[in-house]
Symmetry: C2
Subunit: 408 residues, 2 copies
Amino acid sequence: METPWEYRYAHRMKAMKSSIIRELLKLTQQPDMISFAGGLPAPEVFPIARFQQACNTVLENNGAQALQYGTTEGYQPLREMIAERSLRYGINISADNVSITSGSQQALDLLGRLFLNRGDRIIVENPTYLGAIQAWNAYGADYITVPVDEQGMITDELEGALRKGAKFIYVLPNFQNPSGSTLSLERRRELVRLADQYGVPIIEDDPYGQLRFEGEHLPSVAAIDSEFRGNNGDDYSGNVIYLSTFSKLLAPGTRIAWAIGADNVIRRLVQAKQGADLHTSTFNQMAIYETSKDGFIDQHVNTIRATYKERRDAMLEAMEELFPEEVSWTHPHGGMFLFGILPQSMDATELFKTAVERKVAFVPGSAFHAAGGGENTMRINFSYCTPEVIREGISRLGIAIKEELYKK
Amino acid sequence: METPWEYRYAHRMKAMKSSIIRELLKLTQQPDMISFAGGLPAPEVFPIARFQQACNTVLENNGAQALQYGTTEGYQPLREMIAERSLRYGINISADNVSITSGSQQALDLLGRLFLNRGDRIIVENPTYLGAIQAWNAYGADYITVPVDEQGMITDELEGALRKGAKFIYVLPNFQNPSGSTLSLERRRELVRLADQYGVPIIEDDPYGQLRFEGEHLPSVAAIDSEFRGNNGDDYSGNVIYLSTFSKLLAPGTRIAWAIGADNVIRRLVQAKQGADLHTSTFNQMAIYETSKDGFIDQHVNTIRATYKERRDAMLEAMEELFPEEVSWTHPHGGMFLFGILPQSMDATELFKTAVERKVAFVPGSAFHAAGGGENTMRINFSYCTPEVIREGISRLGIAIKEELYKK
């Protein structure tokens, strides 16, 4: 008997293609594969013992609360801790400006739900984060792209994009996924100024901002916007919705992230979240709070920085030595990814197939280009593998690139 | 300076009114309040020690996996355990037919996302679960209601509803939230037959099915549909999407629930979930699996049943003694709620105000009526408070009802 579900899917299903990353990751799960494809943090720096201790403390002291339903906006002490940390980085907010989300992916989805109608345009960097495109495709978004160079979004080209009319600007200012670029201070200021001039709000996605292992910390776009607006009290009414996550600071498996915004934005985000999943795990929020507190998170971030710096350096060194001179790549000052640029004539998806045969994987860069292009680029993760494995993987990838070059 | 967010909210915001339950719950958080308003499990039966042991086992043996990103469909051993348990209850499925969700609320939301276009009609029981209405309002759903009596949805009235055209039928067959009613075996068969005849699929929401403390377990609608279709292999292709949750079997604070459906439905649900929150907490899934295994969950469900039976009995006895004869109520055989029916002339929202002054709370039943009505009804939770507190609360509520009766 036929089941009637099949032909009843809503039109929006068309927009929901399974993520290319996920499909590729399946290929890369073969044994002996060295994968630079995922966006996985190094498991070696997960604070397992501290987290275990935190779980025990929470369950022994507040077990009934931890296992019960909680409020949609999130666990109050965690929201307060996030507000305090934000203050330290120049965003003047109170806990009321913070909503806990089930990973930053949920924040992206909820923002799409709140703000997008079919056909609405969003200004994104080119390339940009695939998960955002995936979230907003479900709401029928269209994209206006602004190119990125080593200084981040080229703000000289932003005004032209703004003239086309956009619902919001989406930007990853620090060690961008996928390019590894960081938006310069001057461009951050220009972004804030232009967004204000055109009355277009900004979503700042900042999962990696703390993971800087070279150069000076730059103020967030939210902090610059706050300064621009003269917001000095704790009544945040900025033009920026700021997203970040514990996935990259502690561990992603607990799915604890947060969104910061003006009171009225957060209130509506919380209403939307109520219908989406009621609330994020009470237990995980309490355990993450307990893990983070008393300065542990700051101390732990230093460990991550040291580990990732070592891995980035190993990768850059191996590339310098083992990649043919026709290939170039970015030199990120933090984060988890660098971006490789192949000769114009080379297709990274073709290279991917050769590379997988050689037991090494990356993500073809075209996946991150919301309006097409980028066929000769590739995203390479350096956070997950140890330096030794990185060297072996880059060696394999270098051989695969040379094979592809010979074919031409 | 004005922030531009305010006037840019998409139209769908109009449909996202904050849940009445949540607003009322705020009122009921006063000290000394006895609240029958929430839908909270008894914290006394949370298996805290066992869960703590499970967390320690998971973190000691598989810490890096537990804290890492996981697959969208969920932790494989947990999906297999759910498939095996389902088999025991007559739903012939494999793990491929199971997707883990972040609470059942997320499953409701994802199903709305997959199947609903603005203006689509859904057949719901009258009254029905508020969280489902809230989830589907965001997608612009319209509702066709079918009344409920002590035998559940009155299937004699279902055919008329089906003739109006509906995307799916939403039913809570066991100890329904809010009415406490259970759909009789005969009506389950009639529901399956009619849904098949009209080619309309069914969403079966079953959070409480295991919490029966009186009478015989009835086969789920999914099991009856399977039998009706002659599905005997593990290639489930039923007309029912079945939802359940660990929130009521173990504890809600971990937000682990599941959806069962045909392969193609689950595949699409997983795609939608990917954009919504990537995946549900790996750690929580592993800890819930570890907690449940080796028969613990079956043994624990017996504890919950005994506790809830005692509380229901205490409530029924107190009502019998302390409520005026103008009021009637349902006698649920399981679950967490019973439904009070006031005289036609009485408004439960007015009574709510009087009751809150007397320091006792419930939820006015009109909130659960998707197409209006039910002003003289109230949902009363019996799972959360101890028998002593229940008796005191019912005494206060009896006094409040008498006060309202005198006013007339």
